[in-house]
Assembly symmetry: C2
Homo-oligomer: 130 residues x 2
């Protein structure tokens, strides 16, 4: 596997985009994932690992609750796999607590699945089929 | 710039290494940075972005205080640059609050500098000369 992106919870998407532009990042995709209550901007720089800025569409959403509890900041790590069902089965057999037993549609048309942060020792892990 | 590594605060370095081995990561370097009061394990998988596991050597260290306040989890983003003084000057001129006005030695012999997380909108940014 490789690190596909780092998810970052932000309060103001425009302000956050401007801040990462200072580091040489550019916006390669942007849109809403209504099922997750989130607006997403995907940023790319020289390397292959992307940054995914996440702004909540409402307070009572996963990212809205994260912001209320912890404030803006690093939110999750997403790892790319070519076989998401296979990886989920393998990690479940290794003791992982899965948030998503089956993959669901994520941003950009990729299938994704989250693991419970207790398994990532405080880090929310996402698998992305890519 | 590109994303050089993601720093992750952990309570138990051996347990964390074992967890990331499940994702295909391997330890490529490990050692202590006494000046920062931290033991570091650098992990690599297929991609170029590394994971840097950080375990405190004592409670009264930056990572020890982070763990006491927020628990284990994502700690910082490190961006690679070939000209760390030039980048620091450029970011300072853009309004950045610098933790390190001049680079200092980091893990693995790289020169590093941290920016205040308020400038990263809740994300601790590190520059790494690499």
């Amino acid at each position: 596997m490789r690190l596909h992106h780092v998810g970052i919870a932000v309060e103001d998407l425009e302000a956050a985009k401007a801040r990462y532009l200072l580091l040489g990042y550019r916006v390669v995709a942007e849109g809403e994932v209504p099922a997750q209550g989130v607006r997403v901007a995907l940023l790319e720089a020289e390397g292959e690992t992307l940054l995914e800025l996440l702004a909540p569409l409402a307070p009572e959403t996963p990212v809205g609750r994260f912001l209320a509890k912890r404030g803006p900041g690093l939110h999750h790590l997403a790892f790319a796999t070519r076989d998401i069902e296979g990886e989920l089965a393998r990690l479940k057999a290794a003791g992982a607590r899965l948030v998503d037993e089956v993959p669901r549609p994520g941003f950009g048309g990729h299938r994704v699945a989250f693991l419970h942060p207790s398994f990532g020792l405080g880090v929310l892990w996402e698998l992305v089929e890519a």
